[in-house]
Symmetry: C2
Amino acid sequence: MAQLRLQFQSHLLPLAHTFTLSHSSRTHTPITFVAIQWDEYTGFGEAAMPPYLGETPESSERFYASLDFSWVDDPGDLASLKAYIDAHAAGHTAAKAALDIALHDLHAKRLGVPLYTLFGLNPSNSPTSSYTIGIHPKNELLEILPETEAFGLIKVKLGGDSDRETIQLIRDYTDKPLSVDVNQGWRDEKKALDEIFWLKEQGVIYVEQPMPKETTHAMEWLTEQSPLPTIADEAVQRLVDIPSLVGRYSGVNIKLMKCTGLREAFAMIQMARALELKVMIGCMTESSCGIAAAAHLSALADWVDLDGHFLLAKDPYVGLGFNGGVVQVSNEPGLGVRPNGLNWDD
Amino acid sequence: MAQLRLQFQSHLLPLAHTFTLSHSSRTHTPITFVAIQWDEYTGFGEAAMPPYLGETPESSERFYASLDFSWVDDPGDLASLKAYIDAHAAGHTAAKAALDIALHDLHAKRLGVPLYTLFGLNPSNSPTSSYTIGIHPKNELLEILPETEAFGLIKVKLGGDSDRETIQLIRDYTDKPLSVDVNQGWRDEKKALDEIFWLKEQGVIYVEQPMPKETTHAMEWLTEQSPLPTIADEAVQRLVDIPSLVGRYSGVNIKLMKCTGLREAFAMIQMARALELKVMIGCMTESSCGIAAAAHLSALADWVDLDGHFLLAKDPYVGLGFNGGVVQVSNEPGLGVRPNGLNWDD
């Protein structure tokens, strides 16, 4: 009988540019890729692990090595596989997401349909993606701005010392809509509100994680007063966290690497909608493999921030399109991506 | 180009036995059946409308007649179809469930896979179903008990004047595990707790909707003290209600007719699991069409109560199996049921 076979390999991938947030800066990003085989089919997945989130290639590889899939007689039983993987150890959300993505790729390939079909979606409903600009000195910023050309929305990382100058510099360059991501950088809700009113005048359409994730009453006040939607990012990880956002934020940034993958993200989106929260689908710095997985769900989002693969110097997966500012999945079965210089055993 | 075509027809179906709850009694049940066609494929669905829930064949038919599907160019875009149907009018949860079931049947038939495959489930994980006994005088009860023979769990409707006599009569007949459904019939939480302790000694494994659905503090106390899980039924309708159950109930009875169908039920089950609530999948008095839809999700449930089709004098759909106490879906594409004496236009 067929057996479920898991392979994995880790890489420290070089970035196209040094990436600076309010709390860190880096030139490479660690990723562990997985491949899951069943009969003649192979599903691909990816664990993208920015260092500040606590997972590493070593922790993922230990997690994978400790799993036992010998009990699996039906790789289409995604429910039992998710339950087993999730209960095997706490945490490891990116490592789990890689398995979930690969199992979905495998499942859809065995059925011969693109992944969005399994979720009952039409990918032509996917909104344009934003392109993210890190925190840079003025001269670097001027060099980077031309890269935003093909995008309909520019996401700007704030929380540094010269936020308004950054926004004004971008405004001098383009009148495209902007979004901002403060990455918990603001501490005073009254100053935050002043800043948001100013940002709205500059054409900003939403504000991501303005204050520290633990903030409750101040975030309730800020969301109530804010002329722009506030979006939870660091304040939310998984499905269980969604109900607690009501009243504190206007919406949620759902990322596969935080929530263990597609199956949980799909439930999170529906719970968020039922609670009248806005839905944003985001990413880490990832290859086209992880980005494709998120892009297959993006028809369900109000806003999409799926630019992680553009930040890599070289993408180890190909097959994803980009047109009119929209990250476009292929109509091939599964994720619709294939390795590009990455080797897997047959 | 192909067009989405909706047909519907209503029937007052005779029951095999008069069915008595704590608040009503009936000999027939009203059902509106739907068929949705696209190209050469037809998906079947059903709205089962027990009179005390407020929907009627007339309200469903008016709802269907007011819909306009001329915009649909992709019947696999279940997300957009659900959003359109749900926003078209408030309420109508059974009428909406019929459309959701038919659209899932159609989608899975077009893909050539059984419905459980779309949800990533293995139907061999489905638990045994209970068989429900209404409130009957002793002589009728003795006649009905042999019908429970093939089932592994008997669900007993309580809230009448002779609950303990009923349980004892059943205990004299069989030592199978029991569950009870009080349908909001108990008013005093201390008496309810005494009753639950007694029921546990009689081999009862869970208690459904012991007190009125509006009960909050008393239900929190009862659930905290209860030696058996308490399950919300009337207290929950849709996904948005799930988070409010935490602390008030141990679990939730999810029914397609309450929650607008499979797509929302699937999200409800996952939200309930994330909140550590038990999951029960139940039904109304329905044909094999609606029961099959619920049975395709039943691998996700702790307990299943899918006996509605056994309560009909004649079932207008066939194709569902029953073996070892488990309601078994077929491996045919879609729901795996076909009309049995019900006529649809080609």
